[in-house]
């Protein structure tokens, strides 16, 4: 288990998040995909930090976690409001705006 394994694993997780974001329609699943992307970047940060023998990368992880929590809190609040208004979470059915 070397550095490249961790790096590849992080990138694969990130790609899963991207694919999930693109192919899914449920807003909550989209939020989860974004969270997966952010957390996979955390893994990449730690891998690089270990590889470069520095500590900055590990500190960035904590900052990223705090930001991700703030983002998911706001995101969930918006999703709840969406469900109350539209009665659905399917993003492909929420299309009042177009042109």
């Amino acid at each position: 288990m070397g550095f490249y394994h961790y790096l590849s694993f992080g990138i694969i997780l990130f790609s899963i998040g991207v694919v999930g974001f693109i192919i899914r329609n449920n807003t909550v699943v989209l939020l989860m995909s974004v969270e997966l992307m952010l957390n996979s970047v955390n893994l990449i940060f730690v891998a690089f930090s270990r590889y470069l023998h520095g500590t900055e990368g590990q500190v960035y992880v904590f900052i990223t976690m705090a930001i991700a929590a703030a983002e998911v809190a706001v995101g969930l609040a918006i999703v709840i409001s969406i469900y109350r208004l539209f009665g659905t979470l399917d993003i492909s059915k929420i299309k009042l705006l177009k042109g």
């Binding site: 690089f48 995101g75 042109g99």
Partner: protein, 481 residues
């Protein structure tokens, strides 16, 4: 373990701290009928204090937090533009919030925190600090877009903006991690490629740079990452849309500029290629999509995408001083775009009803001053002398040609000609169509203060079009490092 306490120097972040204090006060404001006025006034005072501080910082280049933030002339110039834009947005909000009585304090508090985020973005010299600022800005804006919780369009706009914004943030963060892997640091101004690992460092560095540019491209709404912009602007409360259409673009372009300056030593041709691609697609997509819009805000959104394309051209000549053209264009863009959105705020009748271009029929007959200012803004956007927009485009094109990107400038000129059609269509609707009997302005509009602001903005655009020299000189000072 040897721990060195960094040089904190709180002076370097004093404007942000003041904004945060005012935002906190606004959260706790609790007065009855006068609340609306007091909140707007508090936000206004906070912003004016931050604006007044700019001359005291000018030319000093104060650093703080061990070099993580620097308040140099460039960031001060951007700060000035942001605060001018947000001051206008506060005036618009005061007009627009007749529709809503609840949570006014939160509205202005979020506006101030978004300014704080932008200020952190433009003063940050470290990618993590920039990312923090970007998130403070974005999260404030997600909530502002969703401010009217019962308006379906607004909530739809918010959820789209939030999801795509979070996606872009994640991509930006991945770019930072690659950047960190390639250099061992995240500082922009002291970028040194790692030795000995160059075989891996170069591809990592280029990938990181590309991902960072993609993330920023989302935030500044440049094509091909623009799809959220028209929906978000149209669904958002119009006063928020005005903020949304200028403020993140200033901050995002400032960050791209800083990244470009930091990377100049490594001659990143790939960066220039990406910027040229984003500029060309933005100009084409923005201008051609704006042609077939019937809603005013949506048309302005696409025109904003096109304007970002023009601004990106100036970044192609980043090593030859293209930054001054960027700052000049941004300043004019702030004025004309905020002006045009101000008209949209004034004419909006209901909070969930969109404003069509057709609704402006006969505006010139009933309200000649408003129609005239709108004409000034639109002609300036089209880039016709003697408005400021002409010189802005002129300098940008000049820098683009000097940097050797003639083909991009040719595309820009062709699309400018296309843009004349949709800008003039609005003017024709205002001036050439018959007057209608019913009043165009909604009853609640407080026209006096608003008219004064709009006229002042329009006059400033004309003045800058006639004598652009002094502003350009300041801009050149600001980018001389």
């Amino acid at each position: 373990m040897n721990f060195v306490i960094p040089d904190v120097n709180l002076i370097s972040l004093l404007p942000e701290i003041i904004l945060l204090i005012f935002a906190t006060i606004l959260l706790f404001v609790q007065t009855g009928s006068e609340k609306k006025r007091i909140c707007a006034l508090l936000a206004f005072i906070g912003l004016v204090i931050t604006l007044v501080m700019v001359p005291f910082y000018w030319g000093k280049g104060i650093e703080g937090f061990g070099g993580l933030v620097i308040r140099d002339n460039f960031s001060l110039m951007c700060q000035t533009m942001i605060i001018v834009a947000v001051l206008l947005a506060v005036v618009y909000s005061y007009q627009y919030l007749v529709f809503e009585d609840k949570n006014i304090g939160e509205y202005y508090a979020l506006t101030l925190t978004s300014v704080m985020g932008m200020n952190i973005m433009i003063t940050g010299t470290d990618l993590i600090v920039i990312f923090l600022g970007m998130e403070i800005l974005s999260i404030s804006l997600y909530v502002l877009v969703a401010f009217f919780k019962t308006v379906r369009e607004g909530m739809e706009a918010s959820v789209k903006y939030m999801l795509l914004g979070a996606f872009a943030s994640a991509i930006f963060l991945l770019g930072i991690s690659f950047f960190y892997g390639a250099s061992g640091k995240t500082a922009l101004n002291a970028f040194v490629m790692l030795d000995g690992t160059s075989a891996m460092a170069m591809p990592l560095f280029f990938m990181g740079l590309s991902l960072i540019l993609v993330g920023l491209g989302f935030k500044i709404a440049s094509a091909p990452f623009h799809m959220w912009a028209p929906d978000a602007y149209e669904g958002a409360p119009t006063s928020v849309a005005s903020l949304l259409s200028v403020a993140p673009k200033i901050a995002g372009l400032a960050v791209i500029f800083r990244v470009g300056i930091g990377m100049a030593k490594y001659s990143p041709e790939i960066m220039m290629t990406i910027i040229a691609f984003m500029a060309v697609t933005s100009m084409i997509v923005g201008n051609f999509a704006a042609l077939r819009q019937s809603g005013l805000v949506r048309m302005l959104a696409y025109s904003g995408i096109a304007q970002v394309g023009y601004m990106l051209i100036s970044l192609l000549g980043i090593r030859e001083g293209g930054g001054s053209a960027l700052l000049f264009y941004l300043f004019i863009y702030v004025l004309m775009n905020m002006g045009a959105f101000g008209i949209a705020v004034l004419l909006t009748k209901e909070k969930d009803k969109r404003l069509l271009i057709e609704d402006m029929k006969g505006l010139a007959g009933q309200h000649p001053i408003i129609a005239f200012t709108m004409a000034v803004f639109l002609i300036s956007m089209a880039g016709i002398p003697p408005m400021g927009g002409f010189f802005a485009k002129f300098y940008v094109f000049k820098h683009g040609i000097e940097a050797g990107y003639l083909w991009v400038v040719i595309v820009a000129i062709i699309t400018t000609v296309v843009s004349l059609y949709y800008y003039f269509r609005v003017i024709i609707v205002m001036y050439m169509t018959e007057e209608e009997e019913k009043g165009i302005l909604p009853k609640h509009a407080e026209v006096n203060l608003f008219n004064a602001v709009l006229v002042a903005v329009a006059l400033l655009i004309i003045v800058l079009g006639v004598i652009p020299g002094s502003l350009l000189e300041i801009a050149q000072h600001a980018v001389a490092f």
